[in-house]
Assembly symmetry: D3
Homo-oligomer: 67 residues x 6
Amino acid sequence: MPLINIKITKDGVSPEKKEELIQGATQLMVDVLGKNPASTFVIIDEVETDNWGIGGESVTQRRKQGS
Amino acid sequence: MPLINIKITKDGVSPEKKEELIQGATQLMVDVLGKNPASTFVIIDEVETDNWGIGGESVTQRRKQGS
Amino acid sequence: MPLINIKITKDGVSPEKKEELIQGATQLMVDVLGKNPASTFVIIDEVETDNWGIGGESVTQRRKQGS
Amino acid sequence: MPLINIKITKDGVSPEKKEELIQGATQLMVDVLGKNPASTFVIIDEVETDNWGIGGESVTQRRKQGS
Amino acid sequence: MPLINIKITKDGVSPEKKEELIQGATQLMVDVLGKNPASTFVIIDEVETDNWGIGGESVTQRRKQGS
Amino acid sequence: MPLINIKITKDGVSPEKKEELIQGATQLMVDVLGKNPASTFVIIDEVETDNWGIGGESVTQRRKQGS
């Protein structure tokens, strides 16, 4: 029954990469906790870089500054 | 003061259906817990089928396979 | 596949009331959206009244003041 | 290491306002808890007014009625 | 900058297993998306079985019935 | 109507500090976005250090190592 939520910046991640994230996160629940993959949910949220802040500024700003 | 978050796949749910979800979830808090509807929040998140995984694969893939 | 998260203040809600919340929220997904109950998750979070704020003060404070 | 998630209705908040939210929320963690801003995350979610309910109806409906 | 939230039922998962979850989820972000592990957060939530519902009943009930 | 969720490690934050977090986060919504404080919710989640990972290890481990 695990539920995994992955939040990443919205950077055009391909559907194939998303499948890999879903597979990998599900397998982790099987390998570490012996969970049933059939009832494991993975939800990926893609967040605009304007909407994600670190160190007091948005990722948009940080990337402009090369940090 | 309850807060209900409903996550569903993004499948073109109409505004009318969303009103029904909001009404129903709010009423549930009133009926079961005696909460004040005026301070009950409901937030609906619609998730792309590429971004929702079950059983190690995305809903997009599952639907292609008819599962 | 819906996922419903219900956040309420921690006020000693009984297991029976929690069953009612789980049943009601699941049934809402069936009735409004035609979802499969077997793959509907409900997660209830109980939040300490010190940790929930409204109007700039905690629920603990509000209750002391009878508001 | 704090993580702040801010959910607001989607009303065309400007990137500048978002920077202010990120700065302010991060500074709050520094001022109140002495946290390191470099490892403080802020994520802003903008929610469609159809998808946010209060008092049993959506914000879209409430605004139509001037409430 | 990814953020991974893992929700599992509260079943006495050991600190060692939690380390494995944290390592595995972080490594997944590195392997699939080339993310920097230093700024990858993992948060594990353990949910009481009374508070997690599937198929319209709590995990507590389901386990009693052997389902 | 904003909703602010603050996640911090569980380190015995006092009720007074929590009031300051609630006040400050609410005021930020008023100052930056002109929101109504009466309908602003703040929820604080305190996360065990075993359950919060950064850089592939738990905060518990990082603190042992003085990192």
